[in-house]
């Protein structure tokens, strides 16, 4: 890994961490657990587009661990990792196989992130009733995915390196 790339990855990890903090200040919560804007995905999407899934995974992991130690606990770290891992796997697959644009990849990422967290939540609590949250989480994944995808598109147009 060359120094330029290393610095960019560090920079974007920092941006993702700050997004995570900013997001915790935005009251985007409609009574559904796990619903959030996913601002941090902007940085991950950007890295995924510029480099490969490996760099995106690195930034994701650094972000989750730092955010976890600052604001959460071990539990929230594992929970976030599950959502991020599924989301990144799906986004990578979409990027390589489907020919989707950033917008489509972002929607796939948002939806799969929510599904990943719902599955982990169901496994942890052993409650099938959580499936009732699935429709709301699917729809919110689409909406936030479109939003973050549009934002990432605009950022990609303006930042070149």
């Amino acid at each position: 890994m060359n120094q330029k790339k290393l610095s960019y990855l560090g920079l974007f990890a920092a941006v993702a961490i700050i997004f995570g903090y900013v997001e915790s200040l935005i009251p985007f919560f409609a009574g559904i657990p796990g619903m959030k804007l996913g601002l941090a995905n902007l940085a991950v999407l950007f890295i995924l587009e510029k480099y490969t899934w490996k760099e995106a995974a690195l930034v994701s992991i650094v972000r989750i661990i730092v955010i976890g130690f600052m604001f959460g606990n071990l539990f929230s770290i594992l929970y976030s990792l599950a959502g991020a891992a599924l989301s990144l796997a799906v986004m990578t697959f979409m990027k390589n196989k489907s020919g989707f644009s950033i917008l489509g990849i972002s929607v796939a990422g948002g939806v799969s992130h929510n599904i990943g967290q719902l599955i982990i939540a169901g496994l942890i609590t052993m409650t099938s009733g959580l499936i009732y949250y699935a429709p709301a989480l699917l729809i919110s994944g689409v909406i936030t995915g479109l939003l973050i995808g549009t934002l990432t598109n605009e950022v990609l147009k303006r930042i070149h390196f």
């Binding site: 919560f29 959460g72 644009s101 929607v107 609590t125 009732y132 699917l138 689409v142």
Partner: protein, 123 residues
């Protein structure tokens, strides 16, 4: 946006709506009691008709009042469970993930039984 992306997105939305509609019909009914589970094991079942404060181990406190139950205290960092919609006679779920506490509405007529007087008229 490409056409297949639009199809993909509409597909997800349609799937979510069908799921939602299906669940609506499955869930319909009168929910008289709530079941509290901790870590997948049953903690207790309570009637929504009786106002009371329930302590769940040392981690959470919930309150039944006016036929609905909501979480009033939790020792987890995010307190998301305290912001979740109360469970009432239309059912619902409150989840405190960090403490693995789940409050679920259960179909039953316990409140209706208590509301119905034993005699229609007293002569």
């Amino acid at each position: 946006m490409k056409k297949k992306e639009l199809t993909f997105i509409i597909g997800i939305v349609v799937f979510a709506l069908i799921l939602w509609a299906g669940m609506y019909f499955v869930r319909r009914g009168h929910y008289g009691t709530v079941r509290i589970t901790v870590n997948g094991e049953e903690y207790g079942t309570y009637s929504l008709a009786k106002d009371q404060v329930i302590r769940i181990n040392d981690t959470n406190v919930c309150e039944i009042k006016d036929g609905e139950i909501h979480m009033t205290e939790a020792n987890c960092p995010d307190h998301l469970c305290m912001k979740q919609k109360a469970v009432d006679s239309t059912g619902g779920t409150i989840v405190c993930l960090p403490n693995k506490v789940v409050i679920e509405g259960e179909k039953g007529d316990s409140s209706a039984e208590e509301d119905t007087p034993e005699f229609d008229t007293v002569v």
